[in-house]
Symmetry: C2
Subunit: 246 residues, 2 copies
């Protein structure tokens, strides 16, 4: 028995999220189907974490155990052939049998893209959130600084979130960049609650629009009240960019 | 009665071409449905020409007649609201009652994008043709020069093509540019036969791969034989870029 780690990229547009749900096309189901064709039996995969419906991944990490004895290039090639065009295996690697894609993940980086101009971009409509109103980038950047650090993020989690243990997470870095039309958010932390990045981005956008004050972030850390924050930004602007181990 | 000209952009991915076909989602049907909501009766639209299934448009031109008396900004706004996100009205203009989107078109420019590297680009897979093999860009550029000018393009038309009149067309300009990974073809002519751009690109790619000689183009003009040319490049790499009147 060998444990294989895959680094995969996917376009979330036509997936109803990562995790297997009855009769829905999910990333997990699609990869498990391809593995079943190779193994002639069910192979369960484990990811670094779920992604919501429509959310993309530039570098999701998964692992599974196999009795097949293939080299890394053959794993990559075989899965590329068996998978649809919206999932790509970037790399395959034989790892230690104790490696766990979720439990061992030390840091994750997410990217979020907002298009801030009057008209939407037709060809990128599934890959960014279109916010047509005028925004204050300065306020957004200022607010983002308040997210960095170790905080109780209970207020930033979907109410359906049932993460075991506490909701204290550490954000190591949070960059906000703009090229004039698009705002790129890049956030790195030791873990993220369900919808956490989307609620952070939705709140910063509302701050940029003047609908909320920067102080709402501090208030959310103190009151743990979801209602002091902004909307949950749509999934299609979000990318899981990197998962780090070591 | 007023005649309205629209300039529209569309992502062809989820359309089965332009022209209305029974029970299929086409660009024409989608726009006519939106107009029907405004007029409470069928409004027939006319385009500068059809586009095939999966082909995109950056600037398709259509016209229709209406009894509604709306200003240009209102037309644009109303249609933007009624149309799905994969069609966008870029501009609406009241034109002379004699204007005809197809008959008056003097020049058209098409763009074709080829991705020439080992791995496909997941996020652009519906917007470019992935050719992984090594190509000779010099041969492609040399071959492209042979297309420019006035020729009988019979061999470059789909066999099902039933264009009325002759198949002599003039190509004014044909640029081939590369950024190292992507090859951009831009071709301008006074008219194009069914599949003509796709057969030209497919043939140039086969020339770049060393599968065909540059001389096959001259031979096609002389013999009018489709079989001396290369494959029809897939529709999803093609964009109708501009239609000129004047």
């Amino acid at each position: 028995m060998k444990r294989i780690m895959l680094r995969v990229e996917y376009d979330g547009t036509n997936f109803e999220g990562y995790q297997v749900q009855l009769e829905k096309r999910t990333v997990q189901l699609t990869i498990e189907k391809a593995l079943k064709k190779m193994h002639h039996e069910q192979v369960r995969i484990h990811s670094s974490g779920r992604t919501d419906s429509k959310v993309h991944a530039l570098d999701q990490v998964i692992h599974f155990d196999t009795t097949l004895d293939l080299d890394e290039a053959t794993w990559k090639h075989a899965l590329t052939t068996l998978l649809p065009l919206d999932i790509k295996v970037k790399a395959a690697q034989v790892v230690d049998g104790y490696f766990h894609a979720r439990k061992d993940a030390k840091r994750k980086t997410y990217r979020y893209i907002v298009l801030n101009r009057k008209d939407h971009d037709l060809f990128r409509r599934n890959f960014e959130w279109h916010v047509p109103q005028t925004l204050s980038l300065e306020k957004i950047k200022e607010a983002a600084k308040n997210i960095i650090g170790t905080h109780d993020f209970t207020a930033f989690a979907a109410s359906k979130s049932n993460v075991k243990g506490g909701k204290v997470r550490t954000i190591y870095d949070f960059k906000v960049m703009s090229d004039g039309e698009r705002i790129y958010f890049e956030i790195t932390g030791n873990g993220f609650l369900t919808h956490m990045v989307r609620i952070i981005v939705g709140t910063l956008i509302e701050i940029g629009l003047g609908k909320r004050e920067i102080s709402c972030i501090q208030k959310a850390f103190e009151t743990l009240d979801r209602r002091v924050l902004g909307l949950t930004a749509p999934g299609h602007g979000l990318y899981l960019k990197q998962v780090s181990y070591e």
